[in-house]
Amino acid sequence: MIVEIGHFALALALGVAVVQALVPLWGVSRRDAALASVGPAAAVTCFLLVAFSFLALVVSYVRSDFSVENVVANSHSAQPLIYKVTSTWGNHEGSMLLWVLILTLFGALVAVSRRSLPTRLRAGTLAAQGFVTVAFLAFVLLTSNPFRRLDPAPGEGQDLNPILQDLGLAIHPPLLYVGYVGFSITYAFAVAALIDGRIDAVWARAVRPWTLLAWVFLTLGIAMGSYWAYYELGWGGWWFWDPVENASLMPWLAGTALIHSTVVMEKRDALKVWTILLAILTFSLSLLGTFIVRSGVLTSVHSFASDPGRGLFILAILVFFVGGSLALFAWRAPLLRQGGLFAPISREGALVVNNLFIATACATVFIGTLYPLVLEMLTGDKISVGPPFFNATFVPVVVPLLLLLPIGQTLAWKRGDLLGAAQRMSAALVLAIVSGLAVVAIMRGGPVLAPLGIGLGVFLIAGSAWDIGERVVRRASGASAMLSRAIGLPRSAWGTAFAHAGVGLSVIGIAAAAWSAEGIGVLKPGESLTSGRYTVVLETVTPRKGPNFTEDVARFRVSAGDRQLKPVEAMKRVYTARAMPTTEAGIRTDGLSQVYVSLGEPQGGGIAVRVYDKPLILLIWIGAVVMAFGGALSLTDRRFRLAVPRRAATRTVIQPAE
């Protein structure tokens, strides 16, 4: 019965969402707080209903209830429990339900954050969020209902796509969705501001934590997806400029720009129109990603079972929300009060430059992703836009941005001193050049750009460290004074430093890929293969049986020069239910580098083996995690705990300087 109750709860949630969309909007337009107060109640109710519905689906999966069509199509009774749970969102219908769950979760969070949000803005935001919820609930219920039943029930399920039977599925989609959907809140904020015709620093301050939250999760989600692709797909790449990856990169870039522009808006009451536009575009790009992935315009691991009806529905949602909000923007934005002008050489000026570069980078990804799709639609020609395009367009935009980053970071608000900032950064620059030269001296060879990349990464890290150091080690003073100053620095300053240093780490990791090596050979037990710094020796190949698969396990000894590392196992699996083979790469981590062993087909008594030496590759993801940590740190900045005078009173106590 729980299946049917879950189904009914979902339908009920749609009705509640309709109320959430209409009544608070009416309240805002009539300035009636009683009507507006329906918004929070509806948002929380809606979340509870969708959460129940989602739980009902999870329960059906865990209990292998094969009277539910969705469970039959994506689950198997022999799966381990964890994969039974993750199978819930390892398919189109279930993942859409997860999407809606997170959407309503954000609505509920906005609803309960009484303190930090002006009530009027909250009501408008919840109404806008309500419209998005209605659209997606209707999409789920009408085109992708996960609660469709089968009678009689089959005896066994068809199993989950083997590539998705991995711990990554437990982590990557939820993180990514929190990121994607989190931007729906900033979108809702922007729409609320446009409807209201008022936008000010209060708005910027209210929006910023949500943007940061979404950005942090999106960063982690993308990094996790990239690592998952790296270890699961078996060819050792970590980013393919695949349209689906680009679909997540575009909102990330726009969101990054948005984080920076809201700072300007909050501090200087400027860049309002641009910030609103960015907030709309960021979520629009999230929706575009959803459309690309779900409509079947392309095929990939992510494109589940796609059908044109769904694509059309999402296209309609996309057109309504993007078109509607942009029309609203065109109509209302001129009414918004513009902030004052400001000097080009200043922190805000630097942030504008940042926004320009990031927006351009985002546009190049956009063109590279959509052009082939549009071209195929118009002429039927299939072209593939791959790494060469992005290396030639994306990289040249990003590199100058990163070069300017440490300088902009130290500029003062309002009126900065470019020369001074540059001077302050000279130490970091020297350090960067020295490390670049050192790399050249040690590695002797490799591409020219790689040492430059390393130098750039070092520049970013050193620049961030220098910025913090300079603020702490001001005027000669003792260690305790420095410590207290370090603690006293706003968390957002630390957050900025960490996030920018994280970019530096990733840049180093990416640059170091230039020295990666690949070895391919057909090995019999006892034979060895060398790739870069590492040598692997095939020891044994043995068959093994898993819960719902059989596999051949190849065991390798790994050594780096004279050093012996722990052995590594690489597998070739066949999942019985779908009779589908997969490869499980064997990865041995050595410091920040990795040896990556992947199996090919058996050939002439041996087995084809590919071995990669991936120097410093972990830095790519560590950098992303550090970036996310910086964002999280910034999120805890006390400036966001807004607005209660009581708090302001306690704050004066901590500040002896006043």
């Binding site: 009914f8 059906s60 607005a643 006043e658």
Partner: protein, 367 residues
């Protein structure tokens, strides 16, 4: 019944949650100004703090304070007059309540009513395993499948599951299962006949060369095997030997035991053949007369449509197969030639057409 009570309770709870804030009354105006004030006040404090730490100079701090002050004043401009429990406000509340009361149940019932199955209970696997397995046919089949996946050499298991597949219309799987049963258990007339039938049905009712071979073997092992004899008779009919087919089917009826369930099928087929002896054409298990005309009309229609252009590859193969079943080999040959031209630049399709022509015995003499 219980489930409808639960649904009603859920709906009532949801509606109540929406109506509750409306009924509470309370503050009617937005606290905009106090919100703005506290923001700018904390901004002023921040400026002081930065100034105290020496992060900004005196003039900058003064300028920043002045700006924050100006913004505070601007925010205070937007002060709204509290509406109170005025008549329009009350009317609005009533209307909002009406929206909540009508929207929520309406949407829920419409959407759930269209797709829900309130009568169907949960069927978790563990509960199904505990109940009588003979009641749950699908579960029993999948247990055997799981058993066979682990022990693919179990001939008995294959021979149990193969007829089930055949009955479910999963002909390819049935053919595989019969073949596996034969491979691991040795020759057996009934299994061979089943393999032939599965292959013939998988080919859309055409007794292909592939299907013929096990059928012939089955008759060799057991001359009285009705299933094999029936399909071999159909094979004769396909080859244009209507008289032979009729004779074989008659013989089959003569040999039939009194309680045979398949007699009806054979008799239908026989009547169809006898009704249209001149062309030797008939369609499986169809009474003569109008129905047959209708089928022919449909095939002709398909041929006409494909000739006009368009049509998928699957439609072309269906047309060719249908024409063979109707006994119209020259037309099938023409269709193959036309399809070859249509899919001239599709290597895979051409390969499939060649295979199809071989299977149906349509390979045309070299020009």
């Amino acid at each position: 019944m219980l489930i409808w009570i639960i649904f009603a309770a859920m709906t009532a709870a949801a509606v109540f949650a929406l109506l509750w804030p409306l009924g509470r009354g309370g503050a009617n105006a937005f606290a905009e100004v106090s919100d703005a004030k506290s923001l700018y006040r904390s901004q002023l404090a921040e400026i002081d703090r930065d100034f105290g730490r020496g992060l900004i100079g005196g003039t900058e701090a003064d300028a920043a304070r002045a700006e924050a002050g100006r913004r505070l004043l601007r925010a205070a401009d937007g002060e709204a007059v509290p509406t109170g429990d005025s008549e329009p406000a009350l009317r609005r509340r009533r209307a909002a309540s009406a929206i909540a009361l009508s929207c929520v149940p309406l949407f829920a019932l419409l959407l759930y009513g269209a797709q829900g199955s309130p009568e169907q209970p949960d069927q978790p696997l563990s509960a199904r395993l505990k109940s009588d397995p003979s009641q749950d046919f699908a579960l029993a089949v999948s247990r055997i499948e799981a058993h066979l996946a682990a022990n693919p050499g179990d001939a008995r298991g294959w021979s149990v599951v193969a007829p089930v597949y055949l009955r479910q219309g999963r002909y390819d799987e049935a053919a595989r299962a019969f073949a596996a049963a034969l491979e691991h258990g040795g020759a057996n007339a009934e299994l061979l006949a089943g393999l032939g039938e599965a292959r013939a049905l998988a080919a859309g009712g055409v007794v292909t060369a592939e299907a013929r071979q096990p059928l012939t073997e089955a008759v060799k092992l057991d001359g009285g095997n009705a299933r094999a004899r029936f399909f071999l008779a159909i094979a004769k009919e396909q080859d244009g030997d209507s008289a032979g087919a009729i004779a074989d089917l008659r013989a089959l009826l003569v040999d039939a035991p009194a309680d045979a369930t398949w007699v009806g099928t054979v008799r239908l087929r026989l009547e169809g053949l006898e009704a249209a002896p001149s062309t030797g054409a008939s369609i499986a298990a169809l009474p003569p007369g109008e129905q047959q005309l209708a089928i022919r009309g449909m095939v002709d229609g398909l041929a006409e449509r494909l000739k006009m252009g368009g049509g998928t590859f699957a439609e072309w193969t269906r047309l060719i197969r249908s024409q063979v079943v109707l006994g119209d080999k020259p037309a099938a040959r023409e269709a193959i030639i036309a399809a070859r031209q249509r899919f001239a630049d599709d290597g895979a399709a051409l390969g499939q057409l060649d295979a199809l022509a071989g299977e149906l015995g349509l390979r045309e003499p070299a020009p």
